[in-house]
């Protein structure tokens, strides 16, 4: 039975943005700090650190989840995707990211990475979302700049464009 002692670092192996990685963490290290400080992926933001604000939302095994409510050691063997994996190529934005820019769906940008990760997963599962469902889904994210109106507009616009692209393909 593997018992990881509190005062040492232990290696954690998992898939990160499609690549296999191994890095060391103390048992108490949060996944947010592991991603940002140990692995250098600072796109995942740290807001409230108790699961309320949604800024740290990432994907674990295909579903959006709070990195701040996860210990680094818990993702051993899991597949993790962060905001760094959203753009299809350097210098290019995803359809959802483009829509955020077009609709001015961000101002300070602190909440944006988490919202994009949540919406990216949501639009994959719900290609034709209704506005009330989208708004309810966004209740898991706090944005203090935009008032959510442009975020909802961007998500609906991105959903429409993604449907058109899928239809065209």
């Amino acid at each position: 039975m593997p018992r990881l002692s509190a005062d040492r670092r232990h290696s954690v192996r998992f898939r990160l943005n499609g690549r296999s990685v191994t890095a060391e963490a103390e048992p108490r290290m949060l996944l947010t700090d592991f991603l940002r400080h140990t692995l250098g992926l600072t796109g995942t933001h740290v807001g409230c650190e108790h699961g309320v604000c949604g800024a740290c939302t990432i994907e674990i095994d295909g579903g959006p989840a709070r990195a701040c409510l996860t210990l680094a050691v818990q993702v051993e063997g899991a597949s993790v995707r962060t905001i760094e994996d959203l753009a299809p190529a350097p210098g290019r934005l995803s359809c959802l990211q483009e829509a955020f820019r077009r609709h001015h769906a961000l101002q300070c940008g602190f909440c944006t990475a988490g919202i994009l990760m949540s919406l990216d997963a949501y639009l994959r599962q719900h290609p034709a979302p209704g506005e009330p469902e989208l708004r309810q889904y966004l209740a898991g994210h706090l944005c203090r700049c935009t008032g959510y109106v442009p975020i909802v507009a961007a998500a609906l616009d991105a959903a429409r464009r993604l449907r058109e692209e899928a239809h065209d393909a």
């Binding site: 048992p27 210990l71 889904y137």
Partner: protein, 275 residues
């Protein structure tokens, strides 16, 4: 806010998990999805010496319909139960309440049994368990036992679980013929803790209402087929009996108001489902 230091055991068998709990007792905490425990650690409200991760135990990852109940193992995530194809027909009350548990992003990690273990007085799953008369199965190195929901929740974050025990599964009784079920909740924002939540189970002759978010645990009350002024009086009496407290979210008076209004609406909806 960073958690204090603790050892971490990734249990590979139930016996291993039992052994750690038997040896460390109250200094050990079981971690499943961690959606309540990790913030408790970060805020240092919990200071265990060791965490026992039970998510590798495939025997605990099952949802089964057995003996007229939906048996949900300790490693089943809330989103998995929500996606279980038999849920809506199996127990509509559970299907109605689950989307109110946290947010989609926390349901993807949080477990059903974890919410029951934490026993927050305003949590939805303990409320549903009490409303339906469900049960909790605990196991330890020395024994295995099943506790009725109304005996399990003892107060805010206090349960009948012993220090050496882990929750193995919880059983939600399945929907029965000629029964109506309904769930309603009032909060400031979807996904926040309920200020008041109500679950109703009715037949043509009986009315059962369970209320969360008001007393120190979910409380159920049974009546006959009361209507009109008698129902209003009964709900008013219940609202006062629950001994509502004032906090930063709501006054005691507002909570009593919600018990009367939401209670009435929930019972009415359950009776509509019955018809």
């Amino acid at each position: 806010m960073k958690p204090p230091r603790f050892d971490y055991v990734r249990a590979l068998s139930l016996a291993e998990a039992h052994a750690v709990l038997a040896a460390e007792g109250g200094d050990a905490c079981v971690i499943a999805g961690g959606q309540t425990l990790v913030p408790m650690l970060s805020m240092r409200l919990a200071r265990p010496h060791v965490l026992v991760d039970i998510m590798r135990l495939s025997a605990l990852a099952r949802i089964e319909a057995v003996d007229g109940a939906i048996d949900v193992g300790a490693a089943v995530r809330q989103s998995e139960l929500l996606a279980w194809p038999q849920l809506a027909a199996g127990q509509p009350l559970l299907a109605a309440a689950l989307p109110w548990v946290g947010h989609a992003q926390t349901r993807n990690r949080g477990t059903v049994c974890g919410s029951v273990a934490h026993a927050d007085p305003s949590a939805e799953l303990p409320l549903v368990l009490v409303a339906l008369g469900g049960s909790i199965t605990l196991s330890s190195r020395r024994r295995r036992r099943t506790v009725a929901a109304d005996q399990f929740f003892l107060g805010p974050m206090a349960t009948a679980r012993g220090d050496d025990e882990l929750i193995r599964s919880v059983a939600f009784p399945m929907a029965r013929p000629r029964h109506g079920y309904a769930f309603r909740e009032f909060g400031r924002r979807h996904g926040d803790f309920a200020i008041v939540a109500c679950a109703a189970v009715v037949t043509h002759a009986t009315t059962r209402l369970a209320v969360g978010g008001v007393a120190d645990r979910p409380v159920a009350r049974d009546w006959g087929s009361i209507t009109g002024g008698a129902l209003d009086d009964a709900l008013n009496e219940l609202a006062y009996d629950l001994d509502a407290r004032e906090d930063m979210h709501a006054t005691a008076r507002f909570r009593r108001h919600l018990v009367r209004q939401l209670g009435h609406q929930t019972i009415t909806e359950a009776r509509r489902c019955l018809a």
